[in-house]
């Protein structure tokens, strides 16, 4: 390969300066001329019929422009199942569901009018566990499920409230269990957590009364998908809808799909052309946007005495919440690799996404992988313990390597997993006695004085697929000053795509990075992109931008040929110039080429589209596909923890995270992504949980009660980049954003079990849970969520 000049370098972010000066304008900051302010009324009931809504008083309130209910917005939407109304229709399905909305002169007025809306409800039985909701005889949360429009791949099956049943069938698990020397069965649970981006959710919308055109300003992570969904819901052609993306203050999956957007659009139909802004405050963001799927996971494995895995059966119940949103695909793509990155001859997986009367679960960084890993990787350590085997050795016996046929029928290549396992465990001195810096606990002396502190080590491995097949398109413009503008629909959600894509364009056009800018994201101007999700952007959009830049470069060279009087001579491009390969002094800056051919206002445009062509959907009966994912991301994280047996407090002493990224286009940004993922994973391991009570009410909808990690909570983090190149990826790159938090809780769980000798099967590992686990071990009792280590 040619020498790379910008790709692979730890350049600083192109968007950092506007962010450190406060100039950056986010969705939550956006003010439109003449705009009105919207507020919603949310359901106080988890499941109830709406008997009556009285909006009269609210309508009379001075300053109110519109008061609407589901009757005024008779539309439903949903990504793969069209089950969700813009505003509740006839019934409500969770506490926090928008029921009515007001547009007014200012926010205080809108909120005051919302309080005047009266709703009468008739309670219905409600379900708060996915396992309960799909038991025979459960009453349906969606009575009309059968009549909803759905994607072809949706297989709900016959159980009540199940909106998707994913099946994987490989070999014969019963035979595998019979042939095994050890059979182990366990149950794990992962609670609801939230993305908790620091920017809350908001959306602005405007409907032009003459043309009927709908414009939506929102920091959505998939504007083209949102556009499609709105167009289907409203029955409007796509040309009549425009999404403009202001900057996003973090999303982690929560800012995909339609939530606050539908309220803004519904109101905008009643404001005579004035734009409406709907901003959720923090509490509203907690109860009425998206959450991460809770999961109940049953896992059973058969293993040979030497550690070879013979069979694995898993049943996963994914709590979808009240509406399907992305649950079907989370269920599919989370359940598929849940048995872990291992060679297993006999595998059976059943994943059920079940409606419950909880807030809607959606995509969340990791897309189902963290839940599966929490079960699988702790289960692996339990197996190792039973076999008296080193957990690393057990993994090495079974982990995916190049050329393996994965249990879903795909031959794997570019597998960097083993290297991540070795490097991550080495970084915490696996196999050696506690290697924490003595200062952390006050040295050996202090430890002897603190017999209640127990040290342990653990790790976890994952593989993660990406959404496949999908398409990214890009345009690259070159003007007569030699400046480059990249048109790409990838959303800058903080992950650094604007820097990565700028690097790619700069690399191919051989210009310095500061000559490249990203065009603002507006669906009227920017070519199609599937979504900024699934860690797909560096690979898919990276390929598209790279090809578009090459297209532009080739056009420039063709234009330069007569200018350089080159007939058959070979041309080349570097340092922002086109030149004759054999006579480098015969050179023209690319801007001059544009100007001489097209004038001062001329622009040369390169275009490209990238799709992973051989990507195939999974077979609905077996879950098999020989190209299920454009690429796979592999990672191992390892933790060393100190557990205080008197208080149950877990302190992480150090933590390594080794990620196979294929090729680090920007190593600085890769390290930043890994550290950020790790921090989020640590929060989800130790304290994050949306506490939803037996009535379906979120008890902790604030940052005071829902704990994010702070600057005081984090251990030494050791990010490790492994590069096992993906031939089809740009410069060999895969993806990275999502896996950062996927193995984290399981790695910590394994370290805690190593420290205290008890396996805790439920997250989070908060002091209370850990304390009682220790007490239970001492008393030799047992309870639902604890399995004593033999």
């Amino acid at each position: 390969m040619e020498q790379l000049t910008i790709v692979g370098k730890p350049v600083t972010r192109v968007d950092a300066e506007e962010k450190v000066t406060g100039e950056a304008v986010y969705g939550y900051d956006l003010v439109l001329p003449d705009m009105l302010y919207g507020k919603a009324l949310f359901s106080p009931k988890p499941h109830a019929r709406i008997k009556r809504i009285n909006t009269e008083e609210a309508k009379q309130y001075p300053g109110v422009v519109a008061v609407i209910t589901g009757k005024d917005a008779p539309w439903t939407h949903g990504e793969s199942i069209k089950d969700k109304p813009f505003l509740a229709q006839d019934k409500v399905r969770y506490i926090g569901e928008p029921v009515a909305a007001v547009a007014a002169m200012d926010e205080d007025t809108a909120q005051a009018a919302v309080r005047l809306i009266e709703v009468e409800y008739e309670d219905l039985p409600a379900y708060f566990s996915p396992e309960e909701a799909c038991k025979p005889g459960a009453i349906p949360i969606h009575e009309n499920f059968a009549s909803y429009r759905k994607f072809d791949f949706i297989v709900p099956g016959s159980m009540p409230n199940v909106c998707e049943h994913f099946k994987l069938r490989t070999g014969d698990v019963e035979k595998g269990f019979r042939e095994a020397d050890l059979v182990l069965e366990e149950r794990y649970y992962v609670p609801v957590i939230q993305h908790a981006a620091i920017e809350p959710h908001s959306s602005h919308a405007q409907v032009d009364p003459e043309s009927g055109r709908v414009t939506i300003w929102v920091a959505n992570d998939a504007p083209f998908r949102a556009l499609h969904e709105i167009s289907e819901a409203l029955g409007l052609s796509q040309e009549k809808i425009r999404f403009i993306n202001p900057l996003q203050g973090g999303g982690f999956g929560s800012k995909g799909g339609l939530k606050v957007e539908t309220i803004a659009v519904a109101l905008a139909y009643h404001t005579k052309g004035k734009p409406v802004r709907v901003k959720f405050n923090r509490e509203e963001t907690f109860i009425s946007t998206l959450t991460r799927h809770e999961a109940v996971i049953h896992i059973k494995s058969g293993v040979k005495q030497d550690g070879t895995l013979a069979a694995r059966q898993m049943t996963l119940y994914w709590g979808a919440g009240a509406y399907a949103e992305k649950s079907p695909t989370v269920c599919i793509r989370g359940s598929l690799p849940a048995p872990g990155p291992y060679r297993i001859p006999h595998v059976r997986v059943d994943g059920y996404a079940a409606y419950t009367n909880k807030p809607v679960a959606g995509s969340f960084r990791g897309y189902g992988i963290p839940q599966g890993a929490w079960a699988c990787e702790q289960h692996m350590d339990e197996i190792a313990k039973k076999l008296r085997m080193d957990p690393v050795e057990l993994r090495l016996k079974n982990i995916f390597v190049d050329g393996d046929l994965a249990y879903w029928g795909e031959q794997l290549h570019s597998v960097g997993l083993k290297e991540t396992l070795i490097k991550a465990t080495q970084a915490i001195e696996w196999g050696k006695p506690p290697g924490f810096p003595a200062s952390q606990l006050g040295g050996e002396e202090a430890r002897r004085l603190k017999p209640n502190i127990k040290i342990g080590k653990g790790f976890a491995c994952i593989s993660k697929p990406t959404r496949t097949p999908t398409t990214s398109k890009a345009g690259v413009l070159v003007n007569s000053k030699g400046e480059i503008t990249v048109l790409a629909g990838t959303v800058e959600i903080g992950q650094g795509c604007s820097t990565i894509l700028s690097q790619v364009a700069a690399e191919e056009l051989k210009v310095p990075l500061d000559k490249v800018r990203m065009a603002p994201l507006d669906t009227d101007m920017i070519p199609f992109d599937a979504s900024t999700t699934s860690s797909r952007s560096t690979y898919h959009m990276g390929n598209a931008v790279r090809r578009a830049a090459i297209d532009a470069r080739e056009k420039l060279m063709e234009m330069a040929r007569p200018m350089l009087e080159a007939k058959n001579e070979e041309l080349a491009c570097s340092n922002g110039k086109v030149y004759l390969k054999d006579q480098p002094q015969m050179a023209l800056p690319i801007g001059d080429v544009v100007r001489r051919k097209l004038g001062n206002d001329g622009i040369v445009r390169g275009d490209a589209s990238y799709t992973y062509e051989i990507g195939k959907d999974l077979d609905l009966e077996t879950g098999h596909s020989d190209h299920a994912s454009a690429f796979y991301m592999y990672a191992t994280q390892a933790a060393e923890v100190a557990v205080d047996e008197e208080t149950g407090r877990v302190r992480i002493l150090r933590m390594s995270a080794a990620h196979d990224v294929g090729k680090a286009i920007n190593p600085l940004n890769c390290a930043a992504q890994i550290e950020g993922g790790l921090a989020m994973g640590i929060g989800s391991a130790l304290h994050e949980e949306m506490v939803i009570d037996s009535q379906g009410k979120v008890r902790n909808p604030s940052f005071l009660d829902y704990h994010l990690v702070t600057s005081l909570d984090l251990p030494e983090m050791i990010p490790i980049i492994v590069e096992c190149p993906e031939p089809e990826g740009p410069y060999g790159a895969k993806g990275l954003g999502e896996p950062g938090l996927a193995p984290t809780p399981a790695a910590i769980g394994n370290a805690v079990a190593d420290a205290i000798g008890v396996r805790i099967c439920d997250l989070p590992l908060n002091p209370e849970r850990v304390y009682w686990a220790i007490q239970q071990k001492r008393a030799k009792g047992s309870s639902r969520w604890l399995t004593e280590v033999a």
Partner: protein
């Protein structure tokens, strides 16, 4: 009811007529269009709205604008001086401490207050100064490094 209020922000004086219950954060963002101070919770939990009142960091969402008429208010928009970035800003860029950026204005203001008091803080002091500022993206560690680099002069 509205009352006249005079605020001194980033060295400029603003005469306003506002409702007495309005917070400093809302007034900065909506009346003065200084949207660099962010609103992450509006109840004092996230620190995204941190500004300096006479050099002391406060959550602007917890302060009524009418009560701080005698103070010098510094917001993120006033951190760079005469077009030159503050060493903390430089260092945040250089060390890769910025991701989505939503927490960054608040964090920079907390750190500026720290460095003004204590130009060479220990790691623990830096962590403590930032403990009221939530960041969901970065895991903070590149921010710690950035402070180190700014205080050792490398960020300049």
């Amino acid at each position: 009811m509205k009352i006249p209020v005079t605020l001194k922000v980033n060295g400029e004086t603003y005469d306003l007529v506002i409702a007495p219950y309005r917070t400093l954060l809302d007034v900065l963002r909506e009346e003065l269009q200084l949207t660099g101070s962010k609103k992450g919770c509006d109840v004092g939990d996230c620190g995204a709205c941190t500004v300096l009142l006479d050099g002391k960091p406060v959550n602007a969402c917890l302060v009524l604008a009418a009560t701080v008429q005698d103070s010098d208010i510094l917001t993120i928009e006033g951190l760079a001086q005469n077009g030159k970035l503050h060493p903390l800003q430089e260092a945040f860029i250089k060390e890769g401490a910025v991701q989505c950026g939503f927490c960054i204005p608040g964090i920079l203001m907390s750190l500026k207050a720290l460095l003004d008091e204590n130009p060479s803080p220990t790691g623990e002091e830096v962590k403590a100064a930032m403990a009221g500022n939530l960041c969901r993206c970065t895991g903070y560690s590149k921010m710690f490094k950035a402070v180190e680099s700014a205080t050792s002069g490398l960020g300049r």
